[in-house]
């Protein structure tokens, strides 16, 4: 294979793998922000919490961090459920969810960060897995397992969530809440329960994404802030509340970042990614797959 062709194919693979990770980080925001209208700005903090829990279990017991995150996802689900109850009682029920709710999630973001600093310290943490240092080579094309494994699990998770939302009664109720909460209430549905479930699901995905993050790069308590812009950008680019859109948006941003880094210089990557977002919104304001 010609070096230029190899570079191109490697850029595509790297972009797709990166996009898979971005999808895992963003799918929760797509549910909470895109479907439920809950501006959970603290989502990246739960991603980092997931990273630390995966780290501590891996460090003490040697279990694979991604397996740990899947096994412990019910705990994150419960945490999300509890958080939504507090948010609902204190803000949403009183119609104060817009500004005060945003401040609430900012507070949660800082409290989570400080708690992690106090418990784990400020050093970078990283995990070693059986596949961390393995790279599969198909001719001149590399598949670093450090990114391939999170990509595969992430795509499975996103597809699973989409199937759940479209093929189960409760999932369809979540989609219905996203479309018209009032209509659902008039039909006698307890929309609080539905939204609580959906929000809890979004936090559970953050826990799993956290395990991906610590497999990919070292983590420290404040690193989550770097992802706030990204997750909301993916969510808006893909189309608010569209799970397929989130996956597509994440892959597009991953590919844009990889191509720009490879062929034009990495410092242009954010400009190209957000330029793409602006262009999409200009021509299709509802996002790539939004209605």
């Amino acid at each position: 294979m010609e070096p230029e062709t190899a570079l191109l194919f490697n850029a595509i693979i790297a972009g797709l793998l990166l996009g898979g990770f971005y999808a895992a980080v963003s799918v929760g925001v797509s549910i909470s922000f895109g479907m439920l209208d809950v501006v959970n700005i603290a989502h990246p903090a739960f991603v980092i919490l997931g990273s630390y829990i995966a780290y501590i279990v891996n460090d003490r017991m040697g279990f694979d961090p991604i397996v740990v995150s899947i096994v412990l996802s019910p705990l994150f689900f419960l945490l999300g459920s509890l958080l939504y109850r507090v948010y609902y009682i204190c803000f949403e029920k009183r119609g104060q969810e817009s500004l005060r709710g945003l401040a609430f999630f900012f507070g949660i973001l800082f409290i989570t960060e400080v708690a992690l600093v106090l418990i784990f310290g400020v050093d970078y943490r990283f995990v070693q897995t059986a596949y961390s240092e393995t790279t599969l080579r198909l001719g001149a094309i590399d598949f670093p397992m450090r990114l391939v494994v999170p990509f595969l699990v992430s795509v499975t998770m996103v597809v699973g969530i989409q199937l759940f939302l479209t093929h189960t009664f409760f999932g369809r109720a979540v989609l219905a809440v996203a479309q018209d909460t009032l209509a659902l209430r008039l039909m006698g549905v307890n929309t609080f329960r539905v939204k609580e479930f959906a929000f809890a699901l979004s936090i559970a995905t953050a826990g799993v994404a956290g395990a991906f993050l610590i497999v990919i790069q070292p983590v420290q308590p404040a690193i989550g802030r770097e992802y706030i812009g990204l997750v909301f950008a993916v969510c808006v680019l893909g189309g608010m509340g569209s799970i397929w859109g989130t996956l597509l948006g994440a892959l597009v941003l991953g590919l844009a970042e990889s191509f720009t880094s490879t062929f034009f210089g990495p410092s242009w990557a954010p400009a190209v990614s957000f330029g793409l977002l602006l262009a999409t919104l200009a021509f299709k304001p509802s996002g790539l797959l939004g209605r």
């Binding site: 070096p3 310290g121 970078y124 240092e133 790279t135 590399d142 990114l147 404040a222 990557a269």
Partner: protein, 417 residues
């Protein structure tokens, strides 16, 4: 009356003592203020530096303080965020009324403190900022980092001296670094070195600080087939770039240069064997322990404390210099007998200081008069345990020549195995 006189005088003497002791104890403490990165990306390093400074304060206070005054450190978390720095130093000077100020850790937080420091004409000891004073030319600025009188050049000197000593001489170089203050200044120095050495630059790009995957960057560098790859990066990027270089199978003669993070235990243990073959900088390694006898006592005290506090358990890089920075200040105050900032600065310019990092003398721009940063190559690292870093055998010191313990192994793809 005569019989009462001795009693009276004894009583008066006792009273005088009673009041004299509190009078001395009531001397206000000597307050030294600073911002320090206690959260954010550089918090691991900042906290290690803070512990060193606290050890110094405890040591000084155990000896009775400075000029009879106990030392008190007044500090705030700058969150590794340059925008917080001006308000921190304004508060320290105007609200807390500290007597002296020193810097936090790193170029990014030293530079934004400079305008306030200069406005108030304070003598300013700074902790590991690269070439900051080149932009300000402030006569009361002093830098404890041993980068030498031309810091940007001195910082990269070891890497380029080693590279240009290779046979055949390298012809091409790739330069890459983060979009931030330190990497920008380090790359500036590297470009000057490139010009002097007559190398051809085949790649010169920066990347945004929140980059997750570095493999596209490393592949783009590989496509230019450079003889040398110089990297100026912060800890998470250093880890990402080293990993990507191993995954991509980077082929070049020398790789590394200005990567922050590999000096600390956290990245040393996390990256382990992936560091093999990398050429980078260190302030101290056990291989040259015989030439750093002054460091031993400090490291014993620091390492015991660091384990308890959960920060860098080795303390080879930043902590000794944080302690030494305070020693310089202490000696200057004692010698000048006060806190006159002009006298302090004048004394610091003229004097050679005995510190836990050896003899320190400042040049006219406040930088070390002679550079002493070590260029090293990592090799023979197996596993991720910390103990291997505490004894000689994992590092070859390449430069400066007076500290060299061997020569560089090239190319990188062979030396990393």
């Amino acid at each position: 009356m005569n019989r009462l006189t001795p009693w009276l005088s004894t009583g008066l003497f006792a009273l005088a003592l009673v009041f004299a002791v509190p009078a001395q104890a009531q001397q206000p403490p000597l307050r030294i203020g600073f911002g320090m990165s206690l959260t954010g990306p550089l918090a691991g390093n900042g906290k290690a530096a803070l512990i060193s400074m606290q050890i110094w304060a405890e040591d000084v206070n155990a000896r009775g303080g400075i000029l009879g005054r106990k030392v008190e450190l007044v500090y705030y978390d700058d969150q590794t965020n340059p925008s917080t720095v001006p308000s921190i130093y304004t508060k320290l000077l105007d609200v807390d009324k500290v007597d002296l100020i020193v810097s936090g850790y790193g170029t990014n937080v030293i530079a934004p403190a400079m305008p306030i420091v200069m406005q108030r004409n304070m003598a300013f000891m700074a902790l590991f900022g690269l070439n900051v004073n080149s932009k300000f030319s402030y006569s009361r600025y002093f830098q404890i980092m041993p980068a030498g009188p031309e810091p940007a050049i001195g910082w990269t000197q070891g890497f380029f001296d080693t590279a240009m000593g290779l046979s055949p001489k390298p012809q091409t170089i790739a330069l890459v670094g983060a979009d931030a203050e330190y990497p920008a200044l380090a790359l500036e120095g590297a470009r000057e070195q490139v010009k002097r050495a007559g190398l051809k630059v085949v790649y010169d790009k920066s990347y945004p600080p929140n980059t997750v995957d570095f493999s596209p960057i490393v592949r783009a560098i590989q496509a230019t087939n450079p003889d040398l790859v110089f990297v100026a990066s912060y800890p998470p990027d250093s880890a990402g770039i080293v990993r990507a270089a191993n995954e991509v199978g980077l082929k070049t003669r020398m790789f590394g240069g200005g990567m922050v993070g590999t000096q600390f235990a956290a990245l040393k243990t996390q990256l382990g064997p992936l560091l093999n073959g990398l050429v980078n900088y260190e302030a101290y390694v056990p291989e040259v322990a015989a030439k750093f006898p002054f460091l031993e006592q400090f490291l014993v005290e620091y390492q015991a404390r660091a384990v308890k506090e959960g920060v860098d358990p080795l303390g080879y890089y930043l902590p000794p210099y944080a302690y030494a920075m305070m020693q310089v200040l202490e000696q200057a105050i004692k010698a000048t007998g006060g806190l006159d900032q002009a006298k302090l600065a004048d004394y610091m310019h003229k004097t050679e200081f005995e510190t836990c990092v050896g003899k320190v003398r400042f040049g006219s721009n406040g930088e070390w008069a002679a550079p002493r940063m070590l260029a090293v190559q990592y090799h023979g690292i197996s596993g991720n345990d910390l103990e291997q870093w505490k004894k000689p055998g994992r590092v070859t010191v390449l430069a400066p020549s007076s500290y060299a313990t061997g020569t560089v192994t090239t190319p990188y793809q062979d030396s990393r195995r």
